[in-house]
Subunit: 508 residues, 2 copies
């Protein structure tokens, strides 16, 4: 399949724009050869007009029809074969294995949502019969179901070109709900996005979906993104990315005349609290597990543990040593994009530049291209509490070790934290009473709380919560992962006093 570099305005390839850009091969640090054409305002309007027209048709299709569309997308993505894996690797510097794993996850998600909507159970229909004889007033019959909101704008993540981008969780859940989707392609991997878009359009045609159910807009500049989220035809927004990116888009959403759901997942430092008991039990295995989580995917995961909280005890230094050793063994890794390396260096240097910071692991060798070393720095609990700058996320293989005076101070550190996607506690069986205050503190801060486990590796299942109090997510009441994420894009409606023959049709 040839990647044209054009936009998909519904099923039509379109490239009228004058601004063009290329993606980068971070391993070689050279530009890839495809020229992407930025979508124009006219193309955006056209995509929205198509989506708006497709919505009332798409919404009325049966669950099995939409499910066949989702399953077909999964098939078409697989049909892209190695070409997809190749462009993925050339646009991210991530290894083949990761590309294939992420493709598997993407396909699994699409199939999971297909399964979710194959029956209408997900609509949580509630039927209440009329009680005409009730006094003082008769009860009317009431039937409640869920309806899709309308066209959704999706902004993919730099670090998940497949699973959280073009046909990722947001797109799959919105399409499952009955919402047309307009993707603003991530400029770091527009080639991957183009191929996946092509698969979606192919699947839409094969399964008879209305044109406009999906569009893909290329853009490296921010203007188009803001135009998109401010547009009256967009009824909700899904975003995965940085706090600054999410906040900037939200500013535009807030300027709308009509408020719309803006679901943004925006980063987290995923604190891990470790008790003295856990350290006493043995430091090596735990250090390896945590170090592995820090450097996984070059630390480019939203769930990377960026904050390690311990009490300064007799085994703490041994643990730091083990951790340091494990991190050193990882050596150098390639980041997805020069901008990400630049930010990694800048942000970790910023923390290391603060007078309180002790650099534990700081290989100063200059690395070529987009390679980076893992970094580990250390401060005390009261230093962390005193300076909110220590809470800033460093995207990449960096973690900050906090030595607290005692468990009370560690609890205070948690209380001082902003909202997080995850929190973890490493403890031993006889710590159960001891950690109660930590659990209580974490409950107010996180969307997922782990015990003796690391936060990377987000399970795609009904019991998952991927989200959390602000700024981890813009609305903590929803998850971005798992079948439950469909509820971001639907609203309830109640039918009162309808005759049975009409109602049956309305409830699907």
């Amino acid at each position: 399949m040839e990647i044209t570099g054009k936009n998909f305005i519904g099923d039509k390839l379109s490239g009228f724009g004058k601004v063009k850009y290329k993606t980068i091969d971070p391993l070689k640090n050279i530009e890839n050869d495809i020229l992407f054409v930025e979508a124009t305002s006219e193309e955006l309007e056209e995509a929205l007009a198509l989506a708006d027209a497709a919505f009332p048709i798409y919404r009325e299709l049966s669950g099995t029809q939409r499910a066949s569309f989702l399953n077909s997308i999964a098939d078409e993505i697989l049909n892209l074969g190695n070409a997809l894996i190749d462009i993925y690797c050339r646009e991210t510097g991530l290894p083949q294995g990761r590309a294939m794993g992420e493709r598997g996850r993407t396909i699994f998600q699409l199939q999971m949502f297909a399964k979710t909507i194959e029956t209408e159970d997900w609509r949580k229909n509630i039927n209440e019969a009329a009680i005409p004889e009730r006094t003082p007033v008769p009860k009317p019959s009431l039937s409640k179901t869920h309806l899709p909101l309308g066209p959704i704008a999706v902004f993919g993540a730099s670090n998940f070109p497949l699973a959280y981008s073009t046909a990722g969780g947001d797109t799959a859940s919105a399409l499952a709900a009955g919402c047309p989707v307009i993707v603003k392609s991530h400029p770091m991997h527009s080639g991957t996005g183009s191929m996946v878009s092509c698969a979606i359009i192919k699947a839409a045609k094969k399964t008879g979906m209305p044109n406009g159910v999906f569009s893909n807009l290329n853009s490296k500049s921010y203007a188009l993104s803001h135009e998109l989220v401010k547009h009256s035809k967009i009824k909700a927004v899904g975003f995965t990315g940085s706090f600054s990116g999410g906040s900037a888009l939200n500013e535009s959403v807030l300027k709308r005349r009509d408020p719309i759901p803006f679901f943004a997942e925006m980063g987290s430092i995923n604190p891990i609290a470790i008790t003295e008991g856990a350290l006493k039990k043995g430091t090596q295995q735990m250090a390896q597990k945590i170090a592995g989580s820090i450097v996984l995917g070059a630390g480019q995961f939203c769930t990377k543990p960026g904050l390690l909280l311990t009490v300064d005890g007799e085994n703490t230094d041994a643990f730091i040593k083990e951790l340091n050793k494990a991190l050193k063994e990882t050596d150098q890794q390639c980041m997805i994009h020069p901008d990400l390396k630049k930010n990694y260096v800048k942000k970790s240097d910023k923390i290391n530049g603060l007078k309180e910071t002790v650099e534990v692991q700081a290989n100063k060798n200059q690395l070529d291209n987009n390679l980076v070393h893992p970094k580990l720095s250390m401060i005390s609990g009261d230093q962390f509490i005193a300076n909110p700058q220590f809470q800033e996320e460093v995207f990449g293989p960096f973690s900050l070790f906090v030595k607290c005076k005692n468990l009370q101070e560690l609890e205070q550190v948690i209380n001082r934290l902003e909202g997080q996607l995850t929190g973890s506690i490493f403890a031993q069986a006889d710590d159960y009473e001891l950690i109660e205050p930590l659990i209580r503190a974490f409950k107010s801060k996180v969307g997922r709380l782990l015990f003796n486990d690391v936060p990377t590796g987000v399970e795609v299942s009904a019991a998952m919560t991927h989200g959390g109090p602000y700024p981890a997510a813009s609305d903590s009441r929803f998850t971005a992962v798992g079948p439950g994420s469909i509820y971001r894009w639907v609203r309830p409606i109640t039918y009162q006093n309808w005759p049975k023959e009409l109602l049956a049709k309305l409830m699907n």
Copy 2:
């Protein structure tokens, strides 16, 4: 029980403010004698500090403990006896029967939420067992539940001093969820609010709730309300009232550093579409039913039908005549407050002042005090479509009749509407095919769709949706009525890899 006019800062009566105000007896058009003391910023801070401290304790109580609190509130409200009914009537001009009916509804809601949380089913817990043998990576155990968000600010409605105010649906659902509540008392019925607050505090003490679980702040000025919703310790806001009031508060919410859920139910004109078939079947009964809905409670319901859509056919004028007759029979009614009468007159005059408007029912007799006549005006479908001013809600017994050329124009009128709490279709059995486009159009606009029924009388049940697309509600994904309204105040959390003995405690 004596009404002191002071604020409840937790369980303490407090009145340090210098600004004072009185409520009005709208029937007599005189001030009631109690002097209410506006809460100061210091008192607000104190209430929030108490709520913040109460939250981690209140959150951890069992469902049965919180249920006993809610049931006890219901009991204590009943224990207020006739004194509550008296003050309610003196502050609203509404008849005793309405006061008692609304008290019954309030008590029913409290007991319904108590029942909802008596078991932990409402938390929708999902438990997934670990699969250690799964390849390529083992699956960890995952358990998902729901947690309360934290202290909630509640703004009661002018038209529901009991059921949507101090101990109304927002307060009851938030307390049920495990959230402390701070009510900003409605200045039109602060006496009623004071008595109910007293009942809540009594119940809190009797059932051993932490101090700060409830506070009640008096205020007639807007400053305190904005201070409240901007406060970092407030984690969500529930509001029932006008579009202008809701929008002004939302402006303040949007200025927060951390976004919080702002659920506002803000008014609606509740269109009723009537087919020619329905008119042909007979106009008298239908006219009486609809007229009854327009004037119910002097038209001071958020679900009052303010827009009647018909096709100009052979029975249309007969229907208007019947409707007019039925409205005339209602004669004069007292509105809740001079400000509401002033707005009713101003807003209905504004619509009647537009050159297109024909006044059908417009008794021009000047009425004393806060009495008003019902009003009915008429325009054509294209006139409605051309001028958005015809969509402005007139709170009170006013309705606008729209004569459309044909069903297509009627459909266009619906498509032109803003979001609504409800829509209704009156039709006959052989109209089923005919109304399909109307149903489709309404589905994009309303939270509740009725067939041959009027929208007033909001059933409190699991199948109810009270909400709808903006501006009917600020977030169409939630209902403000029924047990489901609890989900406005909770968020999911997932526990990963926790030992069974700890997990059991975490999931309640």
